[in-house]
Symmetry: C2
Subunit: 331 residues, 2 copies
């Protein structure tokens, strides 16, 4: 599985970091999912191999502009590239009205259907949305406006026949086993009918990634994060700045998310959504301050995302940074 960071700045873009956008796909696969779509997300995509024609779903964490103002332009460009497949958008219900209002005001006609799913309803009903390669579910977070995290569980992993169970049920080896392995229903010689899906074992547990929107209360993730391989979470401020700003912004500090991740035994933690006041280099406060604060409280596998970086989660659950996207100097 791959994570491709398209934007890692909070609020406003900087020269080297765009506002929020994060792509998820199975390694080497064409279909992909977008989490958040800040202004300029489509510009970042031009520097990746991701195609708007293979985008399966867009998950928006909350309505703040730095997480959704890139939506109209991305939808328009998908239409210009002659996309015809339906596109699922999961997000706050207000976004559907906004997209409709945008289409009307700007005479934007899309040549493919949009399928909106209200993330609040999805969360309340504890439902999952299946797209190619993943099941998507959501969980509520805490922010100035309703904000959500998305959980992506891979589907379609290879399976093998449960030979022990077949033997216990006295089903002898033969051509029938091949049909059971394909998940078919089979009629036995004795007239009984069995379902192949009852005799299949996953070769490994499905991998799971949780990607969160803005959130000042990491403890809300406690129940879900234990089984996740990766947690992507905001760390907008260091503790000093967070304390200075007070409770108003409702963001996490590096310390608060790191402490939670340590307590919850999160295996891989990627921090993102950094306030533009933290620079990538030079004098003054920098992203390194956020990193140092997080490392002081969390001893696991920690990364601070940069734009256009690609992370690879292998089948054993090991996360590694596979590409260093040098901060773009212009544009």
């Amino acid at each position: 599985m791959e994570l491709i960071f398209l934007g890692t700045s909070s609020g406003s873009p900087t020269k080297s970091r765009n506002v929020s956008g994060l792509a998820l796909r199975k390694a080497g696969a064409k279909p992909w999912i977008l989490v958040d779509c800040g202004e300029g997300t489509q510009h970042r995509l031009l520097h990746t191999s991701l195609s708007l024609n293979r985008l399966q779903a867009i998950c928006i964490t909350h309505v703040h502009g730095d997480h959704c103002y890139g939506l109209p332009g991305l939808l328009a460009s998908a239409a210009m590239s002659r996309r015809s497949a339906p596109l699922t958008i999961i997000g706050p219900a207000a976004l559907q009205d906004w997209v409709n209002a945008t289409q009307e005001a700007t005479h934007l006609t899309l040549c493919y259907p949009l399928h909106f799913i209200d993330v609040a309803t999805l969360t309340e009903r504890q439902e999952r949305v299946a797209v190619e390669g993943f099941n998507i579910s959501a969980l509520p977070l805490s922010h100035r406006v309703p904000s959500f995290g998305y959980e992506f569980v891979e589907t379609g992993q290879p399976q093998k026949l449960d030979v022990e169970k077949l033997k216990a049920d006295k089903i002898e080896p033969g051509p029938l086993w091949g049909r059971l392995q394909r998940g078919e229903r089979v009629t036995l010689a004795n007239g009984g009918v069995i379902d192949g899906r009852d005799y299949l074992l996953a070769l490994r547990a499905p991998r799971k990634i949780i990607i969160c929107g803005d959130n000042d209360n990491p403890a809300l993730l406690a129940e879900r994060v234990g089984s996740a391989n990766v947690l992507v979470h905001e760390a907008t401020f260091t503790r000093v700045i967070a304390n200075k700003l007070g409770a108003g912004p409702q963001h996490s500090s590096a310390m608060s998310i790191a402490q939670f991740a340590a307590q919850a035994s999160v295996a891989n933690l990627i921090l993102t959504h950094f306030s533009p006041r933290y620079k990538d280099g030079g004098p003054g406060i920098s992203i390194r301050d956020i990193e140092q604060e997080a490392r002081a409280h969390y001893g696991g596998n920690l990364f601070l995302a940069r734009d256009l970086e690609v992370f690879h989660l292998d089948r054993a659950g090991e996360l590694s940074r596979t590409e260093h996207g040098p901060p773009p100097s212009r544009g």
Copy 2:
């Protein structure tokens, strides 16, 4: 006067060209005006000396997304940079509703007032909007949706006393002349009252720049363009591609705008808004094809704009390209 191109692609951004955006200011001055605001305009501004706090007015030529989808993010970032001065937006009325809908859906609170002016009304009433340094008026063009050109006439140029007229009116030299030069009303020894503004001559004619939105009928500019120093106009396609696409898109070809500019004796012509199919280099059709076609029909001072290029119009009306913005390779 300076023109700073922020985006020169039509429809969708490319790696080297953003969608429409163009800044205008007096050379070296802080106040500036923005014409069109495609997605990513605020990102481009990060690579200029233009400040959102000194933006006087935004003029939107028409409602298509590649000319306005950057508006919400730019307004939000101006708020985050603590702008307090009112901001004038001139454009189609539908944009005001869209900005309102966007503010509501995305909980965007601006800490400065927006002052909307409907460009259609402005045009019908032949009114001007005065901002620092310029008078702005508009004229209707021809496109799939109502589209407009904006005319910027400089104000505040130095003036001198009309000595001939003073002598003819028998107003003798003295301290009174100083007051007249400041444009004051003055009572004469004989009891008569005269107005200094009646005795002032501009040291030179005000410079005038016309910047157009999408338009398939350059002849609509005939009445206004004669007195302009610079015309900025779209040349979306070469004639071959324009013919292939038919009348539907309602854009100008390089040939059609060049022929018009030649007939109308336009002194300086800057072309922009190029279809992404024209590349900046490499094999296949390129921006050079548009340039060659335009040069074949127009012998004046011709430029094809690139992103982040700065054009300088001097007091004698000479236009020159003062900075070559190398196309950004990433981001």
